[in-house]
Symmetry: C2
Subunit: 390 residues, 2 copies
Amino acid sequence: MLNFSFYNPTNIVFGEGQLQELDNLVPKNANVLITYGGGSAKKTGLLDRVNAELAKSERTVIEFGGIPANPRFDVLMEAVKVVRDEKIDFILAVGGGSVIDGTKFIAIAAPNKEYEGREREIMNFGFAGVPAESSVPFGTVLTLPATGSEMNNGAVISDGEDKLVVMSPLNFPKFSILDPEITFTLPKTQVANGVVDTFIHTVEQYLTFPAEGRFQDRTAEGILQTLIEIGETTVNEPENYDARANLVWCSTMALNGLISAGVPQDWTTHMIGHELTALTGLDHAKTLAVVQLANWKVRRAEKREKLIQYAERVWDLREGDDDERINQAIAKTEEFFHSIGMATKLSDYEIDADIIDRVVANLEKHGMTQLSERGDVTLEVSRKMLETAL
Amino acid sequence: MLNFSFYNPTNIVFGEGQLQELDNLVPKNANVLITYGGGSAKKTGLLDRVNAELAKSERTVIEFGGIPANPRFDVLMEAVKVVRDEKIDFILAVGGGSVIDGTKFIAIAAPNKEYEGREREIMNFGFAGVPAESSVPFGTVLTLPATGSEMNNGAVISDGEDKLVVMSPLNFPKFSILDPEITFTLPKTQVANGVVDTFIHTVEQYLTFPAEGRFQDRTAEGILQTLIEIGETTVNEPENYDARANLVWCSTMALNGLISAGVPQDWTTHMIGHELTALTGLDHAKTLAVVQLANWKVRRAEKREKLIQYAERVWDLREGDDDERINQAIAKTEEFFHSIGMATKLSDYEIDADIIDRVVANLEKHGMTQLSERGDVTLEVSRKMLETAL
């Protein structure tokens, strides 16, 4: 097992009816900014319910809507101005990963004077973390189980064709309300995206090479097995509480530092996926499904031991030789994605070979030339994956 | 899935050589009290190493040794006096569950004026939590993987024949250093105790009735499978780093709120075990092994569905009818305990039937008359378990 630190102070409040805890969780007498996205929080009545809870104590509440999927730097800067002008001292993100990620940027950009006028620099530090003194405290009401942003300190922000990571130990949500019922109104395609996003997050922290992280491996396998069990149900029966509750909890657990602690990680699929989304607008999760399967096919030898473990433990494949079981495990993963309506080829989205040079160029521009758990995914290997994904 | 809150802000610093992080983790210029137990921390040189790390910055350091296994109220009160007299503002617990549990009591008793002179009352609130304003911040250097106290906010304190729970949201360690190498010098029997303690903690949060906690179930099963895989190795090869690292991480994960979130729990075995330890001095873990097997035999019908799941998933028992598989799973658990040198009957410890009335009387005295996940373990059922355990 590798050495690690694990620290995650987010208070999770999980279950039906938990919105009523808001009045206890958000500081009294605060100037609150509610951040939200494209309007579904308004349409479904959720924003009204949130406002009603916040009104139970003395607070000033301002709303900032319109944070887009793949939250954009320029939009977020408008919110930063509101936080500064209105002396906001608590932010409540009501939304999915994009709104929460955007809120993390706002929270760290607004109060740190040294970045005023050059907030773009906050996006330069990546996984090293933003050097900053403080952030505006924030909580979340999760509407879309997918990214895990509700219980981690990372965010992905878009600026033109660039998708950049913003991290900071100051950026853990103070609390996150996870009420599966709030997610019942999501369109099927977004639920399927959430299942796949959670699946791939898990795979990227698990399917590398053996490293004696037995708890971590089995916990990751448990998430994958759960997703396989409840995937079709939660996509097709949105009001099935238990299926959705399991999706919500798995998506949070898949990216809160738990399953990555002490084991190697491979974020190749995410990095290539980010470039695809930035260039084509294709949903994040759809890029992941496409790239992950190609990744396994191209790096089958490097991931051999873990692919066999995945075949045995996640898919219960006990017959046949190792290569057959690996083939079957990859095929079953693809079938699972199909079963929830997720296509697995770039051509399914009418993206053709022209994209490859552009993605590879942007990977180079962003320094993504030695990806994977071994640092052996060069631009040439990424190119091969994209060719395999066509 | 049941509604739940999950909050755990302890910073875990895991791995070989992590003791050198102490100087970064303990506040500079602090008046530090080091708490420790019976002297093995001194004998092995660990205390010297801890002091050397703390001396890297300006700090005052005082030591308080002699906290016994099953930490006693009267001993802890001496430490409370030291904290008050010496204006201690950080406590560093160097030890296992007893030292850490004791430190939690000290941390909450010392600064809260309302309990001064009547500190015994702190032990009355049990799982409801001690109403208190503050606690002295503390960190831990773990020497014995077993209780999980290094990453939770509970403690068990002894006062004569009473074993009482002290809980408080103020009582999470600020940090815990988990270096598997520090545990290499433990005697075999204590390692075996740690394996069993971790196993039973997990079982008590898992083996109840199905409640659609799929992540929680699989994570619990992962801990159990890991313990079964590494148990004999880590007892017999104390310097096998990977086996020990897996024990250490599992023991922390087994009781930090993760696997209990949103599912029923059954602490019957612990409650009966506590009474046995208080009356006979038998090691906590040894009481657990004895009582747990009896618990399953007596409440086999109530736990039927989960016993079958346990048989299938943890022991891979796929042949035979349900009853046969339950029998096999119980037998295999007992064999596993034996394989690490853990006896499974009261008579193995020369405890005879005379103990039963005394345990039942103390259960009654402590209000333990409706134990289990269904509240159906009356004193009569507890008696039956003890008879089965003879």
